[in-house]
């Protein structure tokens, strides 16, 4: 397949963000993009969602921060980041050279924090803001906002009122009713919804009888969570009108296709970057090949195209 074909097949527009492919990186798994510059042509992917950023610098959690689980991993990084000021002054100017869509993932411990972060980021050339109300690893990671529709709506409104950039709200899967959460943030003005953040999990070292992770619990990601993520994307796609960015365990183009069929307008690759640092390029190529093989002209011909058989009477 030549490049022209690939470009037309995968090019998309996500709530105003022009993207060469509908494939982003998952926040926290791809640094600021630059760390992967040797492995991925950063200007050729949909965009880079950078590590969760907070108002003040954060040193993150102590002790062991990651561990492998069956078909997945747990992490409790704890939102280590240099803070938004350093991001604006040092990181953003540095990564500008890569000519990529930069989406900044933000976390706060109060509604005001989120508003302030949005305001500071509004004055930049970033492509969008992803509002993380779902980090399970720190009290200040917004998880309280991620499990209560009213609080989630309040955060969304605070961000929206401080920026003209597209606002993506990233939801937590650790809830009884994901549809209710999604509707709440849509009603509050979210331009898109990211699904899913990590499931809260735990591993115990049976030699030492202690939790493996320094923070005791951590966030589960990787292929093990894919069935839950696909289900949530499908449920939410039927209930909201804004586009969905699907993620959770995507390791291959086949996995990505499941998310598109379920109703995701774009996908993000997280844990898979650790397995293979150039996987995002491979997944894009294979996705283009899948579309071509199915004689589709653009990724839009796949989005939400799941066929639900009618039950026999």
């Amino acid at each position: 397949m030549n490049c022209v074909a690939k470009d037309t097949l995968l090019a998309t527009d996500l709530c105003g963000i022009k993207m060469k492919t509908p494939i982003l990186t998952g926040s926290g798994t791809f640094g600021f993009g630059e760390e992967f510059a040797d492995f991925v042509d950063l200007s050729s992917i949909g965009g880079v969602v950078v590590k969760g950023t907070t108002l003040k610098p954060r040193r993150g959690n102590d002790g062991v921060r990651i561990t492998e689980t069956p078909a997945g991993m747990l992490n409790c990084i704890g939102l280590e980041n240099p803070g938004v000021e350093v991001f604006l002054k040092e990181t953003l100017p540095r990564i500008r050279q890569y000519d990529m869509n930069v989406i900044v993932n933000i976390s706060g411990s109060s509604v005001e924090d989120y508003g302030l972060l949005a305001e500071k980021l509004d004055a930049t050339d970033i492509a969008a803001i992803e509002v993380n109300i779902s980090c399970p690893n720190v009290k200040e990671g917004g998880i309280v906002f991620g499990t209560d529709p009213k609080a989630a709506a309040a955060v969304t409104r605070a961000v929206k009122s401080h920026t003209g950039k597209p606002v993506i709200v990233k939801l937590s899967p650790n809830v009884t009713d994901i549809v209710c959460m999604a509707k709440a943030v849509e009603d509050a003005g979210a331009d898109a919804i990211s699904l899913i953040n990590t499931l809260l999990g735990m591993q115990i070292d049976i030699r030492t009888w202690t939790p493996v992770l320094g923070n005791i619990t951590g966030g589960l990601s990787g292929p093990c969570v894919k069935p839950v993520a696909v289900r949530m994307v499908w449920q939410v796609a039927q209930a909201v009108h804004v586009p969905i960015i699907g993620m959770g365990g995507i390791m291959s183009a086949e996995d990505a296709v499941e998310f598109f069929l379920a109703g995701a307008s774009a996908v993000a690759i997280g844990t898979a970057n650790f397995t293979d640092p150039s996987c995002i390029t491979k997944i894009s190529d294979e996705l283009a090949a899948y579309l071509a093989a199915h004689r589709l002209e653009n990724i839009h011909d796949l989005i939400g195209k799941i066929k639900i058989p009618q039950k026999e009477a």
Binding site: T29, F36, E68, M73, I77, N273, F274, D276
Partner: protein, 250 residues
């Protein structure tokens, strides 16, 4: 870079400890002593790669070796690979040891002797080695170091080989025997701290090689962050694994 590497040889060199030789020309060509690789095992059981030090490098043959101990499922699966099977290797990663020393003393305990071996090999004839282990069995390393080092000092916890005690026990004596312009240490943290303190007192520059669990190996995921003495955060995978002792030990 990532490279698909073929297992050229694999051998149990001590109970539970393996030496694996990989054909991996691109990595073998550029690897620096003290750097490591992230290996990906293709048996479907592992989402995460495993970080392992580069122990010996043969750039002419395009091969390098790793030594590892079976401690969990990844290292166990690695030990099952046989000649001709493949792995994927990401590397070489991180910053290795400073190479400017003329006559450094290498000090290693347990699997820490693996990255130090690459230094001994690279500086053929320049180094002395002080190695510690639980018992004689753990000091199988002698024969691997022999071609590359001048003097070898041995300690075992149980006294079954060399002097009884820890590397920290005989370090002061060793320092008296020769003049070293650097000390390079890799082993349990408690040992590295002890040696670093004594080296500082003796006024000898000291480098240590740290270990933290890693996911990306590229400085992106912050799995491996540590505090440095100047109050900053550094990443073992990218800023290390080798640090100046005073950077990391207060």
């Amino acid at each position: 870079m990532t490279e698909t590497a073929t297992v050229m040889a694999q051998q149990e060199v001590a109970p539970g400890v393996y030496r694996m030789e990989l054909s991996s020309p691109a990595i073998a060509k550029v690897a620096q002593p003290g750097q490591f690789v992230q290996v990906r095992i293709f048996n479907g059981n592992h989402i995460l790669r495993r970080p392992l030090g580069i122990a010996e490098c043969d750039s002419a043959r395009g091969c390098f070796t790793m030594f590892y101990r079976i401690v969990g499922s990844g290292t166990r699966d690695l030990s099952l690979l046989v000649h001709g099977e493949i792995l994927n290797v990401l590397g070489p990663l991180g910053h290795g040891f400073a190479t400017a020393f003329h006559h450094p003393l290498l000090i290693g305990g347990g699997m820490g002797l693996s990255p130090l071996l690459s230094y001994a090999q690279a500086k053929r004839g320049a180094c002395d080695i002080l190695m510690g282990g639980k018992n004689a069995e753990e000091l199988f390393w002698q024969s691997f170091y022999a071609p590359y080092v001048q003097k070898t000092f041995l300690t075992t916890d149980d006294g079954s080989l060399g002097s009884q005690g820890f590397t920290t026990t005989i370090f002061p004596q060793v320092l008296k025997q020769d003049t070293y312009d650097g000390v390079l240490v890799c082993g349990p943290e408690i040992m590295m701290r002890g040696i670093a303190k004594m080296a500082a007192q003796a006024g000898i520059p000291c480098q240590v090689s740290l270990e933290k669990r890693m996911a990306c190996g590229l400085g992106a995921c912050l799995s491996c962050s540590i505090d440095t003495t100047d109050g900053k955060r550094k990443k073992v995978c990218k800023d290390g694994p080798v640090f100046w002792a005073e950077e990391v030990f207060a």
